[in-house]
């Protein structure tokens, strides 16, 4: 679904990480780990097509891509429902209703509240609901577990398992103690270019 060969990204004329190679197939999870500042976020943004790799080949064959990063892409001035409705209209998807998704991620009580008033964990859940709205085949998750409580962490794992079961694929960057359980997991330990 997504394959990378010799991906290099330079900032200030220095590679951020060692050249990256992988081949991700349907139903597989690529778990990117590494210390703070080793370039996980940068790599995911390169894979997402936001950053342009300095050299190397990126080959994408997915029906849709969805991304949850450090900046969640939630409009503070819209309510949770409005945020999801907009994304649905914008992407032109039409699966489960927004209300159902909201209850799935446990935000029913604050669904009509403006996003600026959400707590950190509630915001994260809202971003997870948007992930489901997109109905994308490839998920790019940058530290999906941060700011979530125990129940929220389990929620991410459930959603992830369901997505992979249905033939999706996922690149997940994390440094936390928690790691998702999935048979088709490839560990990718990212090494900072500066360290090498």
């Amino acid at each position: 679904m997504l394959s990378a060969s010799q991906i290099v990204f330079e900032r200030y004329f220095e590679p951020v990480f060692e050249p990256v190679n992988f081949d991700l197939k349907s139903g597989e999870l690529l778990l990117v780990t590494g210390a703070n500042g080793c370039g996980k976020t940068t790599l995911i943004r390169v894979l997402a097509g936001i950053l342009h790799p300095t050299s190397g080949q990126l080959d994408l064959k997915a029906a849709g891509m969805a991304y949850v990063g450090h900046y969640l892409g939630i409009k503070d001035d819209l309510s949770v429902v409005e945020n999801l409705r907009f994304m649905r209209d914008f992407l032109g998807t039409s699966g489960t209703s927004c209300e159902q998704l909201i209850s799935q991620v446990g935000l029913t009580r604050v669904a009509e509240q403006q996003a600026r008033t959400l707590s950190a964990g509630q915001r994260k859940r809202c971003a997870l609901a948007r992930l489901l709205v997109s109905e994308a085949q490839l998920w790019l998750l940058d530290e999906p577990y941060s700011n979530l409580d125990q129940e929220g962490v389990e929620l991410v794992d459930i959603l992830l398992n369901r997505h992979l079961d249905a033939g999706g694929a996922c690149v997940l960057a994390t440094h936390g103690a928690h790691r998702p359980q999935w048979a088709g997991t490839t560990d990718y330990h990212l090494v900072s270019g500066a360290a090498a």
Partner: protein, 262 residues
């Protein structure tokens, strides 16, 4: 497109693109231009001394304006350069954006301060000249106004380039702005021209009208050529320094520095 991959797996069709890509190799550029720069500086100095001698000492005083007309030898070549450098910068900006060639980005961006400097010289010399001839430092004449707008656009490009940290990103953003400016500059030039004739008949005509005496013309032409060599020399000198700065950790720079020091 990336420089390295282009070099290895794309057959070259066009001689121009080939030249551009050859220029794109930093060590080649560094060594190639290194041979020219001293000559450029030398020619510039010789021509300037000669031109200023003819202009300031040999040429007779103007029967209307007296000695003050000699500002012409600074003002007019600078004015020409301010426009020419913008054109050259815009062309390089286009090449840099389309082919993502770092050296051309650098060249375009080092052109901007030189062009801005010439624009400031034009404005300053023109204002000083305006005082004795027009009785005021500044009027909102068409040519003056469009030169001022040109300065603003140069400053915008320089400001944007310096405001963004990552050098490649900064250069690409500023190159895009230079291109947008290039589309707009002629429009600005003509609109300002009309604006002035429309609102009030300007009583001042820049060119005193009649043809110019050859003893006054020659120094002007010499100075015009001299400023072009100055541009070339200054541009390449700055670009080489910038290239060394950016590649300071690359092998070829270490070699260059080793050669220099030992």
């Amino acid at each position: 497109m990336n420089v390295e991959t282009a070099k290895t797996n794309k057959p070259r069709k066009n001689a121009f693109v080939m030249f551009i890509h050859k220029m794109g190799s930093p060590p080649w550029f560094y060594n190639f231009t290194g041979k020219f720069i001293p000559w450029f500086w030398a020619i510039f100095i010789v021509l300037t001394v000669w031109g200023l001698y003819l202009g300031l000492v040999k040429a007779p005083a103007d029967y209307l304006q007296g000695e003050s007309f000699r500002i012409l030898y600074i003002h007019v070549p600078a004015a020409w350069m301010s426009l020419l450098i913008y054109i050259s910068m815009a062309i390089m900006a286009f090449i840099a954006l389309v082919w993502r060639i770092r050296i051309v980005e650098i060249l375009a961006m080092t052109s901007a301060p030189i062009g801005a400097a010439f624009t400031i010289v034009t404005l300053a010399a023109g204002s000083l000249w305006g005082r004795p001839t027009w009785g005021t430092y500044w009027v909102w004449d068409a040519r003056l106004t469009s030169e001022l707008v040109l300065l603003f656009i140069y400053l915008g490009i320089i400001g944007l380039y310096n405001a963004i940290d990552e050098p490649r990103k900064a250069a690409r953003a500023a190159c895009l702005l230079a291109l947008v400016g290039a589309v707009n500059l002629p429009i600005i030039h003509y609109s300002v021209k009309w604006w002035n004739t429309l609102h009030q008949g300007s009583s001042i005509s820049l060119m005193g009208g009649s043809s110019i005496d050859t003893s006054m013309l020659w120094p002007l032409l010499i100075m015009a050529v001299a400023t072009k060599f100055y541009y070339g020399a200054n541009l390449l000198t700055r670009a080489r320094v910038k290239l060394l700065e950016q590649d300071i950790r690359k092998a070829w720079v270490r070699e260059v520095l080793k050669e220099k020091n030992g």
